[in-house]
């Protein structure tokens, strides 16, 4: 009989799994609440409730109510949910793939590629033939950003995959190199830019949901929803991967396929998110971290919670960005950074023991 030692170190609460499952419900409710709040508030003071009242009693809405609620706030709400969830899940997936709580989608150069695409569109867009511009319309920047992200990821994958095996360590280093290359190319194009284009680029980089339109919703929703939905199947694999690739493989996980799927999902979700909303930071790191501390690192429940919380947090940031300096708007990337950085520092200081690797 071996006598167990006295338990003196911190212990996790029993049944973290149940807590994590309960969190699904709480977070979904929180998201619903914030969503309604998002739809009901705005600088014009248009009231959701009176509009609903009118709709139920058959009275027509004013043009202002129609435009504000349907044309402005609704697409913005949906894009906010998609982008928040997409970025947060991408962050969690990257951390699982690299087995490091500090990894974020930027490591695979998605952001740098997206920015390069956006810069090309902003600066060279006017040189495109008219027939092309007419077809693409306002979607030139998002489409270009999306292709930029994808190009970087494809190159990165090819560089890091040999004999059918992707080396995560190579990906990390190659990602840094590719991001630097993309930045250099961006710099060359920036040099050709005029004043207005530079400002456009600056605002794009700071991130914003103000340009949300139904067209963007229709294009990004399938991409992000499929990505998030797919990620929910990777939970067990990512848990196993936390023990190392060899162990994961001995546990029966098809490791290469897992890596490929993870990279694909991150490319889809982050690429689409960056394309329609520019550069929004911190969501990918903060949200998974908070949830790991609260409900444990089990990816099977973590990923869904991360999606819900990411969406709720981004919507909250959006409400702040719309109201704080109304009628002007603060770029949402600034709000997430201002909120995110102190929270991150606070987490690190409070729970030092659990973060040390």
């Amino acid at each position: 009989m071996i006598i167990s030692e006295q338990i003196s170190s911190p212990v996790a609460p029993k049944n973290r799994r149940t807590v994590a499952r309960q969190a699904h419900v709480w977070l979904a409710l929180a998201l619903l609440l914030v969503a309604v709040l998002s739809l009901a508030t705005g600088p014009t003071g248009t009231s959701l409730w009176s509009a609903l009242g009118k709709m139920f009693s058959g009275k027509p809405l004013t043009a202002m109510e129609r435009v504000v609620l349907w044309d402005i706030r609704m697409p913005r709400l949906i894009i906010g949910i998609l982008v928040g969830a997409g970025l947060a899940v991408s962050g969690a997936l990257m951390q699982g793939l690299f087995r490091n709580p500090l990894a974020d989608p930027g490591l695979v150069g998605v952001g740098a590629g997206g920015t390069l695409g956006a810069i090309l569109a902003i600066v060279l867009g006017s040189t495109l033939p008219i027939w092309f511009s007419d077809i693409v319309g306002n979607m030139l920047i998002p489409v270009s950003a999306f292709f930029g992200s994808w190009l970087v990821i494809v190159v990165l994958y090819r560089v890091s995959t040999r004999h059918g095996r992707t080396s995560v360590a190579t990906m990390l280093l190659a990602g840094i190199a590719l991001a630097a290359l993309a930045a250099a190319l961006s710099g060359i194009v920036i040099f050709m830019a005029d004043d207005q284009q530079l400002r456009d680029l600056t605002f794009w980089s700071l991130g914003s949901l103000a340009g949300a339109t139904w067209t963007k919703v229709v294009i990004t929703a399938p991409l992000i929803l499929i990505a998030i939905g797919g990620s929910l199947f990777l939970g067990h694999g990512l848990n196993a991967l936390a023990l190392g690739e060899a162990t994961a493989s001995h546990l029966g996980i098809a490791v290469q396929r897992l890596k490929l799927l993870t990279i694909l999902i991150v490319a889809m979700a982050t690429g689409a998110a960056v394309a329609v909303s520019g550069g929004i930071g911190f969501i990918g790191i903060i949200v998974p971290h908070l949830l790991r501390l609260a409900t444990g690192p089990d990816h099977r429940t973590l990923l869904l919670n991360v999606a819900l919380l990411g969406a709720a947090i981004l919507l909250t940031a959006d409400i702040i960005s719309r109201l704080i300096i109304a009628p002007a708007e603060l770029p949402i990337g600034i709000v997430t950074a201002v909120l995110g950085a102190p929270v991150f520092l606070w987490i690190l200081l409070r729970r030092r023991g659990l973060v040390d690797m």
Partner: protein, 281 residues
């Protein structure tokens, strides 16, 4: 597309409200547009402005809808504009579309960096505000003043027009200067002088040697406060500038950005002031 039709139907069904003269419901976008509106005496009709509209001082008390190329649709709507008058280049396009779908008249005021460009701006704004008589008067007044200013400048410059380098910023010791085809370049020419840089268009960083080769007699800058302000000692200490004729005579002219480059009703005064600074020291 279909939304506009629907919006129109809805509006037709409601009691009509027109944008009557004297109603306070005009949103001005762009510093020169705002200036023109006040110059036409119609400042009382303004209900909001953008962040570049810093003159006259009364404009500062109006709600600010933000930077003109990054407008938020609901923010703009919240000031309840009955009409929007804007300089070229307002954006993003998604916002403009939403505003048009809300059936708010959006009048773009095209302009170029020239006397005729300014005249055109004034006439367009006047037409939008339904004060054409006043705008014609203002436009011809402005045209006359500008032509006088240009003539005076040419006279002062004579056979030896000064070479002027417009410096946008010297952050990190890099000289960001104006080439051709900019507001700065045009105003320099209106002041009877020569843009020291002809090798490129737009605002670009210049290498130190290129600055020296340009050999400007005078440095022209916007006057700024805060950390963008560069004191004379620091300016002339920069290696690129130190070797120019401008450094030898310590010649630098600073003027307010909107005043100098806005190409609005005050431009004639700006030209005169610039000319005086350049040639009379």
């Amino acid at each position: 597309m279909w939304l506009r039709t629907l919006a129109r139907l809805l509006i037709a069904a409601l009691p009509t409200t027109t944008v009557a003269e004297g109603d306070k419901n005009v949103l001005a976008i762009g510093g020169s547009v705002t200036e023109i509106i006040y110059a036409l005496g119609e400042g009382d009709r303004l209900i909001g402005r953008d962040s570049t509209s810093s003159y006259p001082p009364e404009a500062a008390s109006l709600p600010d809808v933000g930077y003109m190329r990054a407008l938020a649709p609901e923010g703009v709507l919240s000031v309840r504009p009955g009409m929007i008058i804007s300089e070229d280049g307002a954006g993003p396009p998604e916002t403009i579309e939403v505003l048009q779908a809300a059936d708010i008249p959006f009048i773009t005021v095209p302009g170029s960096y020239s006397v005729e460009g300014i005249v055109q701006k004034i006439l367009t704004v006047g037409e939008a505000l339904d004060v054409e008589a006043a705008s014609i008067a203002l436009a011809s007044d402005v045209r006359m003043k500008l032509q006088e200013a240009e003539a005076a400048a040419d006279a002062l410059a004579g056979e030896t027009p000064k070479r002027v380098l417009f410096v946008l910023s010297t952050q990190d010791g890099r000289i960001m200067a104006s080439g051709t085809n900019t507001a700065a370049s045009s105003i320099i020419e209106m002041a009877g002088s020569v843009n020291a840089v002809t090798g490129f268009e737009g605002y670009k960083p210049m290498s130190d040697e290129a600055v020296i080769a340009a050999a400007p007699d005078v440095i022209l800058m916007m006057d700024r406060r805060g950390d963008h302000f560069v004191a004379n000692e620091d300016l002339f200490a920069l290696p690129a500038i130190a070797a120019t004729p401008a450094a030898q005579t310590q010649s630098v002219v600073r003027m307010n950005g909107l005043y100098l480059l806005g190409f609005g009703p005050r431009t004639a005064d700006a030209v005169l002031e610039l000319t005086t600074s350049l040639y009379k020291g």
